[in-house]
């Protein structure tokens, strides 16, 4: 069977014909259903999808900036500890039993001493 034969065979099957009354009543039936469902033509909001995309993009940009800032702070702290490691160790060895904590503030890397007693 070639394509032409197949097409002819497919086209030979008719759509069952409906009565004239059916075609007359169908449009008014649609109208009744529209009224029943209280359907109104809705003007498509042209800006809504664009606004959603813009909002999403903005949120993503904010998240990215926040992530970069956090990453930068951690990198700075880590670099500062590495840079002053020797110095801190030398200082800490001189302490007796005091509890100590390293802390980073706006003035740079410091150590905090607390009395064990």
């Amino acid at each position: 069977m070639n394509d032409f034969d197949l097409d002819s065979k497919l086209k030979s099957v008719p759509v069952p014909e409906r009565t004239d009354e059916y075609w007359e009543s169908f449009p008014s039936q649609v109208r009744i259903n529209l009224r029943r469902a209280a359907v109104r033509p809705v003007a498509e909001n042209f800006w809504l999808p664009r606004l959603a995309w813009a909002g999403g993009g903005f949120a993503l940009a904010i998240a990215l900036v926040f992530f970069c800032i956090q990453f930068n702070v951690l990198q700075t702290a880590s670099a500062s500890i590495d840079r002053h490691e020797k110095h801190f160790h030398a200082q800490l060895v001189q302490l007796d039993t005091g509890l100590h904590t390293l802390m980073l503030n706006t003035h740079g890397m410091n150590y905090l001493l607390t009395d064990a007693n």
Partner: protein, 192 residues
Amino acid sequence: MSELVKESRMADADQDLVTQSQTGDPAAFEALVRNHQRMVHSLTFRMTGSLADAEDLAQETFIRAYEQIGGFRGTAKFSTWLYRIAMNTCLNWRQSEARRFHLHENCAREISTHHLNGEISSGENQSNQQVQAALLKLPAKQRSAIVLTIYDGLNHAEAAQILGCSETTVSWRVFAARRKLKSWLCKNGGVS
């Protein structure tokens, strides 16, 4: 009057009716339904094989069209836009397994009714049933490609626009569907 002129006049008439429908005029929309009801019924019947389901889907198509008509900008013909809604409605039509099982029976009964009315001969009736059954066995997307290109005579570019896929996809679906149909019809119909 040439087909092109007729089509152009129909398109102009549709455009006026669409504009009126967009302002909420139900009478104008009723006229649009009258102009396109046969086309939509034909499409929904080819896709479902059932007169009752075809009627339900045609109703649903026009209701959806009315809801969405505010978004119709006239970049495509109204009929193309309506075709797209009708096809999506058919593709979204979820068949339960039982419903699918009974589909062939319903289709055969509807075609047989015409046979009993003396509209077609017994041999023709059997052949029609086989063709319709084969068509319904196709996956919905392949069936939609066959319905649009063979029954409605659209080219692959137009069908692609309606189905929302590429022209290549349509060509592939038509090719795959043809291969299956030929195989099934040759097996059942004894066609060489």
